[in-house]
Symmetry: C2
Amino acid sequence: MHITSVTSPAEARGRFRAGVRVPTAGWAPGHAQANMIIVPREYAYDVLLFGQRNPKPCPIIDVSDAGSPHTALAADADIRTDLPAYRVWRDGELVDEPGDITGYWADDLVTFLIGCSFTFETPLVAAGIEVRHISAGSNVPMYRTNRPCRPAGRLSGPMVVSMRPIPADRVADAVRISGQFPAVHGAPVHIGEPAALGISDLSTPDFGDAVEIKPGEVPVFWACGVTPQAAIMASRPPFAITHAPGHMFVTDVPDHTYAV
Amino acid sequence: MHITSVTSPAEARGRFRAGVRVPTAGWAPGHAQANMIIVPREYAYDVLLFGQRNPKPCPIIDVSDAGSPHTALAADADIRTDLPAYRVWRDGELVDEPGDITGYWADDLVTFLIGCSFTFETPLVAAGIEVRHISAGSNVPMYRTNRPCRPAGRLSGPMVVSMRPIPADRVADAVRISGQFPAVHGAPVHIGEPAALGISDLSTPDFGDAVEIKPGEVPVFWACGVTPQAAIMASRPPFAITHAPGHMFVTDVPDHTYAV
């Protein structure tokens, strides 16, 4: 359980910097959260192009200069310490899940921050639509799909989706509300029929935790910012660092900045 | 004068390939047009990052693989021949304005296509808002501003804007309609008061042709895809090719694809 009453992004980052290691859904509500991927400068063009070519799963919202641990999305943050958990990858293999990446830092590392569907969860809740993983105090369930992303240079891989069960009579509202946030995954990519996405069992997500689907609810799938992580697992670059799924970077940017 | 009745993108590109050299506003109405910038692969990350950091003037809508003259936006097009006019740049200096760049092509060249405000001109006209440069049969007027773009690597420069005079009682409609197309510059960046943008004389645009501003009309300014060209003039990369301002790449993509 990680229900929180932390409402300030800076305070949230401070807790994570101090060692709190939890999924970030529900933290600092009203502020955008971001997926993260860090690669050497030599690999950065491929990542940036992968985002340009796959904007629904990989909406890149900031890119740091090589070697800089800072971002325009939170002036006082240090991306090496301020996420609750990281994953370190060598040749596509997960080699570490630290709470701090200072020891891995190098002057040629480029940080990409990618929009996160947590950004439209606050408006969903405000509209009276329950977000199950928040009420359950668990991580959002995420699944690899059978839909390939458009490759970019050396990067390719499947689209990953997050799933939220929505009462059938609120699905249209969930589409409308999330569709107002195209820069952070926007409207769902798929509604119902998980098998058509190649998902055989909703109770065994590839990332995060399973959630209960109640009678009368439909599984609704949004493109997910863990997609670049799946591309790393598929494409095996020599080195990369990502956030741990669900353990996001909490920005200072109000959610409504990304609304159209 | 270049009033046209050509309605098919493929036919428009065929005319330009055959040597017709005119601004493209009003050609193949209902189909998105694109700004273009081509740089060596070694410079491509800077251009892609410049677009990510300056999405309003530089919304990148497609990137070709190095050496490929093809784009996902028009399957049968060849970007070396299918624009009406090009500009070739060496060290930031304009060295040629050919109608074909086949002779300049090289295997390391990367092509960026960037959204164009012509995309929302059809909906403006459909709403009964006159687009002056179309009715005048001239090129849209474009101006360098005093607003710097966010630099990216070796690229920096001022934002360039296009200007359309709009009757005061239709300005809100023009904002609303163009705002539905955030991927192709979206809503205006500035309305009225050209001096506040550093524009001292609307009758002498930096690119394109001046247009008449009638009594009761307000100059409305949109971010313009000529901005990367201004960055090239300011940042002086060794080599680049762009479209000639107003002489765009006509894509097969329906305008409404970019509507939200």
